[in-house]
């Protein structure tokens, strides 16, 4: 990120005034980029300019868009669409759909191999993981997993794929090359999403009905720790963690706590919650911008996203997006 030269105090005051006049609030960090937000009931992606905090447009896509990922070359955006059984491929330069990729029945989440050649998608209805060759668009293998699979993550070396099964409360460890299940690891109730530490040694799993995050060792799949969320004044049943992301240096993690309507900041080394930020209703998925100064929180039950200033651990703005928003991705 470009750092602007420090303005003089007077200029800073003037700038702050201008910002206040323009936005009605002072942005605490120089935000940039565009947040792409999928909404399950809209068949469209909403574009939010992070600098101004306003919706600048929508891009039509396939039916019931959910998980979003950028291709490793950064040029395209893939959108998994549950009711179209495919991914929409969107060119980020033109912001137009340039093709479709069949993902099997009711795809929910997916990940892409580090070489950008293979896509792994969870098929919620079938209880399967589809392995797809991106270039040919061909389904190379279907791996049966537990019911209602959701989170998908590929290891840094591309050799292992992890999938959560919500109904079976398991993480499946799958050999990417052969598509065989190597191990089923019991985690908390209704596991949802993953984050992987930069060294690849710890796999963090959010447990929606366990009000917790399970930290698994990727060496022997033992549970290194279970981080139980506790919030004063909120009952455990109302803490339903789903979305999780980690900074690139692996020092901090961010977990959306669902019906607790908050997002937790976690110090990865000590596995302790450092901050809690109140956001919208049923905080669902989270995304960081490149500078990791801004967190985008998608609120499934209030049809909006909340922008959170990471340094100050403070919500700065809520922006209405589509109906039943699901995921966000920041493109800069």
């Amino acid at each position: 990120m470009h750092r602007h030269p420090q303005p003089s105090p007077a200029a800073r005051a003037a700038l702050a005034l201008l910002c206040t006049a323009l936005l009605g609030a002072t942005p605490p960090a120089q935000a940039q980029g565009v947040a792409w937000v999928s909404s399950e009931k809209d068949n469209a992606l909403t574009l939010v300019d992070l600098k101004t905090g306003t919706v600048t447009g929508t891009v039509p896509t396939c039916k019931r868009p959910r998980h979003l990922q950028r291709t490793p070359d950064g040029k395209q955006l893939l959108v998994a669409c549950g009711d179209s059984h495919q991914a929409d491929i969107i060119d980020l330069a033109t912001r137009k759909s340039v093709g479709k990729l069949a993902l099997g029945d009711d795809p929910e989440a997916f990940d892409i191999s580090p070489d950008g050649k293979t896509l792994y998608a969870s098929n919620e209805d079938e209880g399967a993981l589809s392995i797809i060759d991106i270039a040919s668009g061909k389904l190379s293998k279907t791996v049966p997993v537990g019911k209602e699979p959701e989170g998908v993550k590929v290891s840094h070396d591309g050799k292992t794929v992890w999938v959560t099964s919500e109904a079976a409360s398991l993480v499946h460890v799958i050999d990417a090359a052969s598509g065989t299940v190597l191990k089923n690891v019991k985690v908390g109730k209704r596991p949802r999403r993953f984050a992987l530490t930069p060294d690849g040694k710890q796999l963090w799993v959010s447990n929606e009905l366990g009000a917790s995050v399970t930290v698994l060792s990727t060496t022997d799949y033992s549970t290194l720790a279970t981080l139980n969320f506790e919030i004063k004044g909120v009952r455990a049943a109302d803490i339903t963690p789903v979305g999780i992301t980690m900074t690139q240096d692996g020092k901090r993690a961010f977990v959306a706590l669902g019906r607790a309507n908050q997002v937790a900041f976690i110090d990865v080394a000590s596995r302790k919650v450092t901050d809690l930020v109140l956001v919208g209703k049923r905080a669902w998925n989270v995304a960081l911008d490149k500078a990791e100064g801004r967190l985008v929180v998608v609120n499934g039950l209030s049809d909006d996203i909340t922008l959170v200033d990471v340094a100050g651990a403070k919500a700065t703005k809520s922006i209405p997006v589509g109906r039943v928003p699901y995921a966000a991705l920041v493109v800069e």
């Binding site: 209805d125 997993v145 537990g146 019911k147 919500e166 190597l182 366990g210 049943a237």
Partner: protein
């Protein structure tokens, strides 16, 4: 060829065997699996599954037998069972009397079953429970007495109680500030008791009973005061009302009441807005996936009864995972501790004081889920779910 729409015993037995044989190819842990047995006892020629009922099930009534939902739960749980090294075999028996229910329970126990599942009327259920020492999962009966004066330490209820349904509805009316209630009660065997439950909920949530009247299905002009919706809901004899709460276990009168009232007011209770354990139109918490899996397997929409049966299957799987070697005492202990995910957004467990599964209720009109209970703003010292149904301090079940 039978004219009944019911699930035939042969078919269900075959399904159970097929399940038991289901390959464990998904599991890398192919340990030597211990076999755990359970027996489902159902009523032969169950009048609830007569064609004229299941073709057009009233809201809150069964859409068919419990077989497909149990089958689904066991399939859903196969991976967990494999991982735990447990093999669950469920067989099914049909009985035609209270004595038959007792005999079937004894037979299952001597054959080594660890638990019973029952889709039986209340007295049959009690006979099966009292026959031996097995924990019993009640898939069907919502009668409050089974959670209160006729409760049993080994009886676990998946179906919400009548009181839970009444509380859910009363909370919803209170939240809407639809406070003036006209209560109509039918002549059915359980209607008086259910009407008393409704009146208690009306009182508990500060609603006002403006009038309470009996009704009757009749075309006899001499009984028109009892049978004519317009006369029953006119205000000549009483004060104006916000809603008509109809108690009709049979359902034939209730389903024709909406839009036939003298005043333009909603109908609630056994028609109109109904408190349900589940409805196939529910959209949150992964519910559509469950409804879709069920519809694919059974060819019909998933009802509250199906959900309760599905959850009974999940409870059985959870117990078999916790106690892979089986045994009545181990299962009883495991059931007391299970936490179940039934796609209603919260983990659910059995209340220790009456064996009832605590759960959110859905308020639906058959087209959509309009609301859920406990409603926002209802408070409870420990768990808001315990505002639905009998709570611990009431000590209504002396046997537990």
């Amino acid at each position: 060829m039978s004219v009944r729409n019911g699930f035939r015993p042969g078919r269900w037995r075959r399904a159970a065997v097929a399940l038991a044989l289901l390959s464990t190819s998904l599991a890398p842990v192919a340990a030597l699996a211990a076999t755990v047995k359970a027996t489902l006892i159902v009523r032969d020629d169950d009048p609830r599954f007569e064609r004229n009922r299941t073709e057009r099930p009233a809201l809150g009534h069964a859409g068919g037998t419990v077989g497909p939902a149990l089958d689904l739960a066991l399939k859903d749980g196969q991976l967990e069972l494999d991982a735990a090294g447990s093999k669950l075999v469920l067989d099914s028996v049909r009985v035609d009397s209270i004595a038959g229910a007792r005999a079937a329970a004894l037979k299952a126990e001597s054959a080594g079953a660890s638990a019973l599942l029952a889709d039986l009327p209340a007295d049959w259920l009690l006979a099966a429970t009292d026959a031996g020492k097995l924990p019993v999962l009640n898939l069907r009966e919502s009668a409050d007495r089974l959670r209160e004066r006729d409760c049993r330490p080994r009886l676990w209820h998946l179906m919400p109680s009548e009181r839970m349904r009444a509380d859910a509805l009363a909370q919803t009316l209170a939240a809407r500030r639809w406070q003036q209630v006209l209560l109509l009660t039918g002549p059915g065997a359980d209607d008086q008791e259910r009407s008393a439950t409704a009146q208690a909920a009306i009182k508990r949530y500060g609603l006002k009973l403006v009038a309470s009247k009996p009704f009757k299905l009749s075309a006899d002009p001499r009984e028109r005061d009892l049978a004519n919706p317009l006369l029953l809901t006119g205000i000549a004899g009483g004060a104006a009302y916000d809603v008509v709460w109809v108690v009709d276990g049979d359902g034939e009168f209730a389903r024709t009441l909406p839009y036939r009232t003298a005043l333009p007011r909603p109908v609630v209770g056994d028609a109109g807005l109904v408190a349900l354990a589940w409805h196939s139109s529910f959209e949150r918490y992964g519910a559509p996936q469950v409804s879709r899996r069920f519809a694919k397997a059974s060819g019909r929409a998933m009802t509250g009864q199906d959900w309760s049966a599905w959850l009974a299957g999940k409870a059985l799987v959870a117990a078999a995972v916790a106690a892979p070697k089986g045994g009545a005492a181990a299962f009883q202990k495991a059931l007391a501790e299970v936490e179940l995910d039934g796609s209603k957004g919260v983990a659910m467990s059995f209340r220790p004081w009456d064996g009832q599964l605590r759960q959110p209720m859905l308020l639906g009109d058959g087209q959509s889920v309009v609301a859920s209970a406990p409603v926002d703003g209802i408070l409870h010292p420990k768990n808001a779910l315990d505002t639905l149904g009998a709570d611990a301090p009431e000590k209504l079940c002396k046997a537990r």
